[in-house]
Subunit: 345 residues, 4 copies
């Protein structure tokens, strides 16, 4: 049994980690930290987990965490992560960081979009935790930067094209819509039920911090700089990201040919489902699962390829993906603990 | 591996059976029937289950089903069930019937509330599939009548009182609210999104067919006739039943004493969680799980006990309970395949 | 044009007042106060009202408000209201108070359920703002205590019985469910979208502060002390209260007779709709309107009468009712500004 | 009082017409038809309108309708409209047709996307009912083709650019998301609550019939052929369309300059609100109103302009727009009956 610690366990990402790991056969949750709820039983914070999890929330004490856990998930806001991740590594733990702090390989880029970086030396050694594209690095890594939710959908959506050199020169347009769990559990006016319900809006239009992460990975695959125009929207539902991606092709291709390209690219992947011609993903079909569903449609009138990608932002977009990476890092079967079918109804 | 068949597999109850059983380690789904979708792969009907279930829908041919399966779940409308259940029994299958056809022990009562009964001899031998109250009968039964969703919540909510002789003489008031999956997948105007969304209404007020089922079981426990006034409501959400039950007590008791009574009654039960004083169940805390959460509050001003019960109508209220019963019937661990934690976010 | 002021205009109750009054032909909104948004144009806080309302939020300065407005709506938390209402009265304004501060006639009762009362002399002179029952007092009043949302539904639901002496001796059970606007706009964890969505729970079970208000009014109508057991629930929708009320009758009566009693009691009322036999109210049918819909069902098996009442908690349960009262106080037609049909889709 | 008839009055578009017109001071609803509900009082079909509308549903008899009404709204499926609209015109009525039958000016285009056209001579004389762009034609027209919901949002979103010759040569990308009322009241599996709730999907990707309507109008404004790539999505909410439009500019421009262009273009329009820099529309801010809210963001990294447009699909996207057109046709103030503020909570 792998002993795991979860730092920042009472936010939504942390709670989803606890939920998944409580049912993971190869893992024991040995320590969870929470500043807000220190001293409480975890189920008192999330009563849904009564009888499933019996552990007390502790204030963050890195030495204690490292003493109890071989592998640590840090589910902290950016900047806070980089303050404690180096310590966990020094203390001998493997680390999966859920924040943005180790995702961008260039310190300058990080500092342009986020804040000054206090541990830039780790940017080189961290692996970008998208197993479908970086499986080997992740397997060997001691630090994995778990990708952002939106980037996961966008990168998996265009990877087969980018890798095969099929992307045209124009910017990739990523139009995404996310459920409200993506905003986390903090007390923001915009996250109140009555401010979200029966509404929809775009936010951080073409300014969202996940943009450089998409560009880094897609450019890496394409072997040249690729630009992304990214517009996120907030949906009145709890879980899920649907990305509608508009791509120019380098040269004309048929829809079947493109579908075959995608199917072959993801053939060996347990969590990516390429849908047959004429079918498009629905958020509800991935809810509660680690699946990433992809559908394609070539617009014959404009020549644009439209790629539709659905993930559960808390699973494949965050905690599920983190567990998938942890499985690789700890020598467990990659799909372990992630087999629950979607809760589609 | 137990071979199971699901008859009527593409309604919501059937789909939930397929979803649960696709992840059940002791079971193989060997046949699924659907008149509407015969010939299609199951995942074409429910794309969420792509890669989880590889089986084709067949039209109902009882001999074929019985040839392929040791145990059959019949998820058919009432009256249709009683037409084929006797056949499955004759052909040597064990049967879990999801309809109302074998729940009421008295033929007359069934015919008063439903329709003429064509297999009344089975009413005697069928077990009422509430394991917390009828575990032994279920274990030995060849035919289990899986309880209705509302009755499961009401009966579990008052069983400790009824059994201990604590119920007062006045009728028990059961005020329930259900998600829309309870209405099934049929094309009814009242089930359209825009007819339900942002609304709530009572229906079949004090006339719902689940009333006699509640009365039968509660009376059985109490050893005398108990009357139930039952008012169901429709909620704008997918899954869950919350029952708010108003009970008169035979004699004054304290809240702690009552809580202790409940805790002790359900002590050994894996799926019933009695909440501590001052906590009340929330539908979202049982969603996607087989849990039944119960909270109590004694109104000191009127002396009434208020019992709050939450279940997921598709799990503990239908398909999860059916699998729990099947585990008992087939000698599997009672909780097998039912361990996924609630999807509370 | 009546000049009105709204104190505490950026909470949900205040916003609904602004929304209604922006479209009221006999009224001019001359001052709105908000501590949180002082200095902003009102539409910057609620962009939906761009081009409908052109007024700047001001910090609360009672003299300024009284200088600008003949009639003042105070939409403040309890205790805060009683601190400024006497001042507005002294300065010559008529006042409609949306808080609980002037609803209970007995100081002791208020202090038992709320907090010490600093202006008890006003409890006598304030009118309870339920026009269907206190029209004359309201018309003459200088201070109206606008009823709570839950009490409005409960009191209108049993008034015809109470007034006619038809209530039996047992406590009235009021089982209510409310949309989230009822919780207001404050930043509470329990009001976050993801904490409410796809869930339902009871809260303050048999302990809610609206209980004494119901008892005061129902007892007043009945001419004797009537007890209420009240259980509120939170629904995953924005607007609406559905109350399911269980009443014992003093003597056996028929459903038609009871319906006729209700129809006759509310015959002259513009905002109360008694539904025909077999029909029950739906929240969506009153949404955005000042209607109160009432349906009845007599349970022949227990003799209990079940009364179903639906209101929009922001209209008839708060701001709509306040405007109805203001119309009476200012000599305007009672229905003025309240004629918009429900937004039922 | 203008006497109006509504043909097909019990679908969602018809119901919204009845709702709006029931509160329109210059209009009397003199006849409503419904095949499904003929013989019933309208409020029996939509109980929300009890006491607001007192009229009986009739089967469609064109002569009777024309005898009772000066102006007729036809809310029928395409093809059915063209079968009766010519008759109403002959009988002397003015007609507002809610279907697609008279929107496309070219018979061939209609027949390519829809079905054979039986009244092509009317394509020339019908006015396209978007008052902001065709006010004069509408004022004089006897037949108005009320625009589709998606096209209304797309056309208003790019009109200022198209008219000013600012559109670049690449196709305009229109990414839209709609509430479920857009699917109408027919009994489709895909419109069931549980099939939509907590989900989102694209449909008819780059194949939706509203595409040629967008192209016709935008091309007309631009004075050259403009291509549109249109991807609609279904949202789990009742009302509203949010369109996120990606436009290439003919030449580089600043965001302020573009905002000024839009503000000036819509300066005199009562129902179009151009939001200030940095603000983006939210569906809930237009709900229940005839507003069209527009926000802009220039992506400095790609040079693309992103236009965000929100409308209520039942108001500005259908019935509200129809009433706005009728006001023009009948010499009433354009905004009459459309002044209710949005129901934003």
């Amino acid at each position: 049994m792998v002993k795991v610690g979860i730092v920042g366990a009472t936010g939504y990402t942390g709670a989803e980690l606890v939920r998944i790991l409580s049912h993971h056969p190869g893992v024991e949750i040995s320590v969870v930290t929470s500043e807000s709820y220190a001293g409480l039983q975890y189920w008192e914070v999330y009563p849904a987990l009564k009888n499933k999890v019996r552990i007390q929330c502790q204030p963050l004490d890195p030495e204690k965490v490292a003493g109890a856990a071989e592998v640590v998930f840090t589910a902290l806001p950016h900047s806070k992560s980089m303050a404690c991740v180096p310590l966990f590594l020094e203390l001998g733990c493997k680390v999966l960081d859920m924040s943005a702090d180790f995702r961008l390989k260039q310190k300058e880029l990080y500092e342009e979009w986020y804040a000054p970086h206090s541990a830039p030396e780790l940017l080189e050694v961290s692996a970008y935790g998208l197993p479908e594209l970086h499986r080997e690095e992740i397997t060997k890594a001691r630090l994995v930067a778990v990708p952002g939710c939106y980037p996961t959908s966008a990168i998996l959506g265009v990877a087969p094209l980018a890798k095969a050199g099929l992307l045209g020169p124009e910017p990739v347009i990523v139009n995404s819509a996310s459920g409200v769990t993506g905003a986390g559990r903090s007390l923001e006016l915009g996250s109140l039920f009555c401010e979200v319900n029966e509404g929809m809006k775009a936010y951080k239009v073409a300014q969202h911090r996940h943009t450089p992460e998409m560009e880094q990975e897609i450019s890496g695959l394409a072997g040249r700089e690729v630009r992304v125009t990214f517009v996120p929207h907030l949906l009145p539902l709890s879980r899920g990201i649907l990305s509608t991606i508009y791509v120019g092709l380098r040269e004309p291709m048929g829809e079947e040919e493109l579908l075959a390209e995608y199917a072959s690219f993801y053939e060996a992947e347990a969590f990516v489902r390429v849908l047959p011609k004429g079918r498009f993903p629905n958020l509800r079909d991935v809810r509660g699962s680690n699946f990433c569903d992809i559908g394609l449609r070539l617009d014959p009138r404009s020549g644009k390829l439209i790629v539709l990608v659905a993930i559960d932002n808390l699973l494949k977009g965050a905690s599920g993906q983190a567990v998938q990476c942890m499985n690789l890092m700890m020598g467990l079967p990659e799909v372990e603990g992630l087999g629950s079918p979607p809760l589609f109804l």
